[in-house]
Point group: C2
Chain length 339, copies 2
């Protein structure tokens, strides 16, 4: 017996903004699980901005994707065949083997790459790819550990309507912050304000961003959660308070640049205002996980933390889903439903 999986691969490393020409769908035959292995049917897969960094052919903190091979990324699915006593058919699990419909792999190998059993009774399966997963922990670690947020401070968030940004906004609001969000459409801003954000600014229509932030937060910014970079960092620097902290999670405005683009022209403010600008990668902050996940349940149950989602269906749309991370044509967590 064999099982068929459709997979999404990279045909070539994108130059600049990825296009559909960069992706290639393949079909492979999968053998059902042998001893020590499990076969998994993925129900949901995640696309995340950090994946752009694996599409360059250059090793950074993580190896590049191999051309012609199924890409990798967070995925949630159910076990269909098991050759391992600890994993039963029907169990829900999360792995890093996304971008494919189904796969068979040794449990020992999966364990090296964040294999996790999921309890989907209280939390919907796909939330483990968002607020209850890596993007959620990224938000928490960035806000508290890197951003050193203290109750009552003013927090500015760029990419505020994204998977990470919208979680930061809600976590900060739940802990007494004044929150200013920057997003790319009126619809996104409306969603943010309806979920407690004090001022959501549509950066595309706001005009002078420095002034728009100043108007929204005349008291200045204590913590800036950076997802975007470029002009937003410049405007944020202009509005930071003394001893402000910038948690740099991503600079999505820079990921598709073919040539290096200059940084903000006011970086010198970092000195006069004694600012800290610190980059981080969530995998180095796993120690926050128990604390975050203990808070997550009550926050979700009370409706203070909501996962907004944009869902495309079918592996054939995974490339499209990824591309939408960059053109902004989505809200909240971008997901691909595979079943």
């Amino acid at each position: 017996m064999t099982i068929t999986s459709r997979n999404m691969c990279l045909k070539q490393y994108p130059k600049g903004t990825p296009t559909s020409d960069d992706f290639l769908m393949t079909t492979t035959e999968i053998k059902p699980a042998g001893k020590g292995e499990i076969t998994v049917q993925n129900h949901w897969m995640s696309v995340d901005p950090y994946m752009r960094g694996r599409m360059t052919g250059i090793k950074t903190y993580i190896a590049p994707f191999e051309l012609g091979q199924p890409m990798e990324g967070g995925a949630v699915g159910q076990i269909t065949h098991s050759g391992h006593p600890d994993y039963k058919v029907g169990d829900w699990i999360m792995t890093m083997l996304g971008w494919r419909e189904t796969f068979t792999a040794p449990v020992d190998t999966l364990k090296k790459s964040m294999l996790q059993k999921l309890d989907v009774n209280m939390i919907p399966a796909q939330a483990f790819l968002g607020v209850a997963g890596m993007p959620g922990l990224t938000a928490y670690a960035g806000l508290y550990k890197v951003g050193e947020y203290k109750s009552g401070e003013t927090v500015l968030v760029s990419g505020a309507a994204g998977a990470v940004g919208s979680t930061v906004c809600q976590l900060a609001k739940a802990d007494g912050a004044t929150v200013i969000g920057l997003a790319g459409s009126d619809e996104k801003c409306k969603w943010l304000e309806s979920h407690g954000v004090d001022h959501a600014i549509n950066y595309k229509t706001a005009g002078n961003l420095t002034k728009a932030i100043k108007k929204a937060a005349p008291q200045g910014i204590d913590v800036y959660f950076e997802n975007v970079g470029g002009d937003m960092l410049e405007a944020a620097l202009n509005n930071m308070n003394m001893f402000g902290r910038i948690a740099a999670c991503g600079m999505i405005s820079q990921y598709n640049n073919e040539a290096p683009t200059p940084g903000p022209n006011n970086l010198v403010m970092i000195i006069g205002k004694s600012l800290k600008l610190q980059g981080f990668i969530v995998s180095n902050h796993q120690d926050c996980a128990p604390e975050y996940f203990s808070k997550l349940g009550p926050l979700m149950a009370s409706g203070k933390l909501v996962q907004q989602e944009t869902i495309l269906e079918g592996i054939e749309n995974a490339g499209e889903a990824f591309m939408r991370l960059f053109d902004g044509n989505k809200q909240g967590k971008m997901l691909v439903k595979l079943t």
Copy 2:
């Protein structure tokens, strides 16, 4: 009886690089100390890059200089008249009333602005304006507290031949670092290497700075002590190791810009490498002072920490001394000898 003081004032706020036209010498009559006051003859005054920030007419973390009034800054002198029981004629003191030959002021007022009695038996008086004063403490706080330097790491220093930079280089060397210094002349580089710096790079003749640093430190940079900004920050970012720290003390390349200039084009590396870029002002790190000054004596006595100086004589040359901070025509601590 009256005493005459010649003072250096700002005639106008400089546009771009300061010129002699921006300075104005005045002569004032000083009354000898009355009750609670002291009269001080300044022997040495300091010029420091941070003063450029007080020449803009804009309040930052410190008020701007008043036009037509003697400027302020670190100065070391002796008491010539005293109306205060705790301060005797002949005592050496440090005040922030530099840029003038002599002054009378209430002790209570001076105490609010870092009045300090000096013991000049072990340490030469002018060193209290350099290694044994604010620049020395800046170096120490930046290296250890902001830069989180740990013994044996690799440290890159820009402005390495300056008052702060040369102290950082020597402190790091005394604590087991590999030190790479960036300076603006072969003479400066020679001095640095003769004082233990592993590789001194003349950035004016080095060509591609990223490659020059990589050649000098193939193991990568753990701590970058930033005095200069601009291209040097860009080259440093390219060479930083994972979890590297950048202690941003100054960005002298930016201080005379009339229009904002773009920042480094590789700021996104802060995320992938999980870097920390933190600005600081020494006055917020006075808590390091006891620790630093306890180490200072032995370091100076053993010759591991040396103050290199460039000295101009006479208050009339104070403006020139200040301007030399920016054109690089000096080595080590820039001082003006007033007597």
